[in-house]
């Protein structure tokens, strides 16, 4: 009897990619036209095709709604003050629009609230999702307000939670990444409490639907009682997948009222 490692290697070594596929990849220098790609679509049964069609419909609806919404946001966003400090909504410092590659994955992204909100609620999550943002100087946390946080990408591992914060004194906006190992909301809040001691949990509730159960929304208040921190926690979109848009739309329907009170302070109205 062989040991696990040998047996696993033996079994895995028998798994080979389709030589025809490799040949085509080689001939095309990796740039296979879509028509030549082996796609999963052919493997779907009729029932799945109906679901795919439905997903496409949702996608088109979401894109349309997102576009209208983004335009509306741009028209309604105005400079307003929050906590006695002017927040210039038209100021867009160093918006990072570079592709999400491993090269820039560690870069700190600065983005204005308006741009970020438009991006997220316009359904263009891929522009910010998947980016890993490190905050090099945590002293900013003393002066900043977390406007909201969200999961840009919540696969089964390496969950990325993004906190969107503004530094009131320096008028800087930042995204920073925190890490949780599980979907468990309690663990997340334990993490928040220990990592961001300035904030305490105010209210937390889970939103569920028949299709999605992994979205959790919470409101955290600043300890001084002046700053409201809203945390959107859960699977909130994924690279251009139809489900993501459906999910975002679904999330909007449920939390829109809660977010409105927070976002309106920044001149952004969600309707």
């Amino acid at each position: 009897m062989s040991d696990f490692k040998s047996e696993y290697k033996r079994a895995m070594n028998e798994i080979e990619p389709d030589p025809e596929l490799l040949k085509r990849l080689s001939e095309s220098h990796g740039m296979l036209p879509a028509a030549q790609k082996k796609k999963s679509l052919i493997r779907l049964n009729k029932y799945s095709m109906i679901k795919v069609a439905a997903a496409c419909l949702v996608l088109i609806t979401a894109i349309t709604a997102g576009g209208v919404y983004a335009v509306k946001n741009m028209m309604t966003a105005q400079p307003l003050s929050h906590g006695g400090v002017d927040v210039n909504m038209t100021d867009e410092p160093n918006v990072d629009t570079s592709p999400n590659t491993d090269d820039n994955i560690n870069s700190v992204m600065s983005i204005s609230p308006k741009t970020l909100l438009t991006t997220i609620y316009g359904g263009h999550l891929e522009e910010v999702s998947g980016k890993r943002i490190k905050l090099s100087d945590f002293s900013y946390l003393d002066d900043c307000t977390v406007i909201f946080a969200y999961y840009a990408d919540a696969p089964q591992e390496a969950d990325n939670l993004f906190l969107f914060i503004s530094d009131d004194t320096k008028k800087r906006y930042m995204l920073l990444e925190t890490r949780t190992e599980q979907y468990d909301g309690n663990q997340f809040f334990d993490y928040m409490k220990t990592s961001v001691p300035a904030f305490t949990l105010n209210k937390m509730y889970t939103l569920q639907s028949e299709e999605y159960s992994d979205l959790l929304y919470a409101v955290i208040s600043g300890t001084d009682g002046s700053a409201n921190v809203s945390v959107l926690y859960g699977y909130a979109g994924h690279n251009q997948q139809a489900g993501s848009f459906a999910h975002v739309l679904w999330a909007e329907e449920n939390i829109i009222n809660s977010f409105n009170s927070i976002f309106s302070a920044y001149g952004v109205i969600i309707s």
């Binding site: 798994i15 080979e16 990619p17 596929l21 296979l32 049964n45 491993d102 998947g130 390496a158």
Partner: protein, 172 residues
């Protein structure tokens, strides 16, 4: 830097394809448990490779890059709405338009492979990288963008699960 490895020529691409296609395909398969998904990922990884302007300073660097992109592509696919819904509709190993699938052959071929396939995805990928690619916990952490302690925990839990499934057949 003169030691840097360029990617762009056709001959380089073919070399890289020949050298790494199995590594990518098997890692993708370990994650997705589906040969078609693994093929999709293989194509996507090489597409990204061709479009990437990354300069590699060693072959190890290139390998690590490809592993990481494979992990990312697998993640994208596995956590996608498409994949989740399709997984509910199509039983693992049963393809609607094929009488005999390569998948079924793989499934019946090895108890060990089946056991690994039955543990959660986040453990499968760690098991594969550790036992098949023989990466260290530190290297796995870099590839999967996790902490070393997280990788060690996953390995420990994976071993425990595999032990429960394979009983006396599991030993290292």
């Amino acid at each position: 830097m003169s030691n840097n490895i360029s990617l762009c020529s056709d001959s380089d691409f073919e070399k890289v394809l020949a050298l790494y296609n199995r590594m990518i395909y098997r890692l993708a398969f370990a994650r997705t448990r589906n040969v078609h998904d693994a093929e999709d990922i293989l194509q996507e990884v090489f597409f990204r490779y061709v479009n990437s302007h990354t300069t590699f300073n060693s072959e190890e660097h290139r390998k690590a890059w490809l592993l990481r992109v494979t992990v990312n592509c697998s993640k994208d696919l596995v956590s996608s709405y498409w994949h989740r819904k399709r997984s509910e509709n199509i039983p693992f190993g049963k393809e609607p338009h094929e009488e005999l699938t390569p998948q079924e052959r793989y499934d019946t071929q090895s108890t060990v492979l089946q056991a690994v396939g039955s543990i959660p995805e986040k453990y499968r990928i760690v098991v594969h990288l550790f036992y098949f690619e023989e990466l260290s916990a530190e290297q796995i952490a870099a590839v999967t963008d996790s902490s070393v302690s997280s990788v060690k925990t996953r390995l420990h839990r994976a071993r425990k699960m595999l032990k429960n499934i394979l009983k006396e057949d599991f030993y290292e």
